[in-house]
Symmetry: C2
Amino acid sequence: MAFKKIKGATDYYPDDKYAQEKVFSVFSETAEGYGFSKVEAPAIETIELLTAKSGEEIKKQIFTIEKKGSEDLGLRFEFTASVARMFIEKQKAIQKPVKWFSIDRVWRYERPQAGRDREFYQYNAEIYGSANPEADAEVINLAIDSLLTLGLSKDDFYVKINNRKLLFGLLSDVVPEEKITNVIRVIDKRSKISEKDFETELDFLGKAAIEKIKKILTISWDKLKDLKMNDNAEEGYKELSEVIKYLDSDIIRFDITVARGLDYYTGTVFEIFDKSGKYRALAGGGRYDTMIELFGGQKTPATGFAMGYSTLSMLLSEKKLLANKVPGPDYYIATITEGTDEKVIENAVKIAGKLRKKASVVTDLMRRQLGKQLSYADSINAKNVIFVGPEEIKKKKVKIKNMESGKETEIEISKI
Amino acid sequence: MAFKKIKGATDYYPDDKYAQEKVFSVFSETAEGYGFSKVEAPAIETIELLTAKSGEEIKKQIFTIEKKGSEDLGLRFEFTASVARMFIEKQKAIQKPVKWFSIDRVWRYERPQAGRDREFYQYNAEIYGSANPEADAEVINLAIDSLLTLGLSKDDFYVKINNRKLLFGLLSDVVPEEKITNVIRVIDKRSKISEKDFETELDFLGKAAIEKIKKILTISWDKLKDLKMNDNAEEGYKELSEVIKYLDSDIIRFDITVARGLDYYTGTVFEIFDKSGKYRALAGGGRYDTMIELFGGQKTPATGFAMGYSTLSMLLSEKKLLANKVPGPDYYIATITEGTDEKVIENAVKIAGKLRKKASVVTDLMRRQLGKQLSYADSINAKNVIFVGPEEIKKKKVKIKNMESGKETEIEISKI
């Protein structure tokens, strides 16, 4: 009987965990460089909170907990709701803007596939309190900077940017208000379905409207300037123009089809993709100015993004930007004994204790012969091997071998 | 309608998260100094795994997941089972000893109280493959070193140490084999119940046996030497003597009552307590040589410990060893404008971008008046404030004010 890990989850062995933590350090350092502070909500939240912005529909995707006490509980499937709850609790006490980020697990009951686990990590950042375009630009620039700091370049990824008011405004000229949500739902999956299926799904609008929608969906940034727009579209266009001023035009592409599904976004929205088109979105986010109020807080503008680790790590690995080996210890202390010589072991442990004040040190623990110890030292990539035996203890000197250069030096034990 | 966090969980706001991460860094660095590598199992495991070593009884404490697919799932309540599963999967491929640690969440459905949340963090370390006393000593020394590196001293905590074979051996002279587990269960809670309740619970053994047990439970290390012991007790005594040789006698206290409950331990066991006696155990662990085989792997000796963050953070806080404030950004860029001057904002954003290559920088985002900006800069503990206005842009120079010393300097924008 051997146990299995659950479907759609990852065991992080040392090399993978090391690679992941390197990426997370870059996230943290970049976010802190922008003045964001790390926060962390519990993994378990009430179902009431989890379904508040997406409705009961989302429950299918939530890992719900069997009820024991009075609470209906589930594992979070994203951070925004939890962090909003935390923000609302302190919102009167802290000066705005509040800039928070998290790097943590989320859970979604979905069909597992490449780049999509049921348990996975997200890097999430939000700004509460600023309605200005420089706040939207800041979260987008933070996402971009995080990727650049990981070693990716402008040749590897780009940011699709849009504005919900602009998209809604343009559509509202063609589609009755109450049907826009349905149309957005279809636009959102357009890249995944055929032209014909796209048209079939919009059938309820009639041929003429479908043609107009298709035209809207191919509109370029330059053409927008000359377009006569309604107020809503005009406002979205103006907002987006102001955000774009603060962004690197080499990385940004206007794309009217970016809708961010049925989510809670109200203004500028964006998604980040790898240029090869091989992977799912690396990140997505945007402005959501109504959610804090909807959640029972004081009306507060907000903007943020989430970036998944699964897809990103595949891209980093392909580009050879993911660490692939945990570094070995600075020293392995090999014990030279005939049979078990406890005095030698005690000396090795003592030397290890002294060295650990400034270095990482591994001792034998197995009472093996020297050959096997060296094979072990090699398997863990030890940088140096120190040899301790009865002779060495008598002479009060040990030999240190640098495993890369092969160079050997001798040092007095008392000077270690 | 405002949402609440669940019972028995913690929201980590920036200051608390910062303090926690500082502690976790010390854990990681200390463990890496001993050559341990970080690993991470999923939070969700199969019920089969979770109940394998503790039986169905433990299910009361598990947050179980409502079944959706074919798997019965729950949240882990400790790490050992998950890490054992990971070890077994690779056991043939890696050289022993395997030294792994984790710092991560666990969940227990218990009554929340001070120092005991339902969702909490543990630091866990295990060595697989060595049956030698220096391995036991290494995990104990790692736990001790982790606490010392956090700034605690020998005056703050101590390690209670015992050996299960010794305790079982001594008890087996007095108690029938099949009743020892029951007796251990009572010994385990002895410090929490009255003398009278202790005797009542052991009533089934008869008065004479109870008196003998009470005598065993007061035995000192020195007295053991002269005691005539059965083979099992003798073996435990010898094991413990060998482990103790590698430990600091100032920190270690032999305590025959340390049983580690109904757990899977087979040899040396230990628990770490604060000296004031105010808190629950800081850590606990020991040797478990049968579990890997029980879990379907090849028989492998193992030893390890777990240390909780909740209790430890209370002790660290009391001793003023817990960070209490997230550090502020290096620079706050204040924009001096009459009304909104987008050129000034653009310049501020540009300067921030340049500075972020080497420092953390916050810009206004709110288009506030200078006074309010300075109040905000103060609230986030900004170390320096840079002033950017139309005059500064014209002169191509900005003023930098050190917020601690009040000293002001001027610098050319091009030199930032």
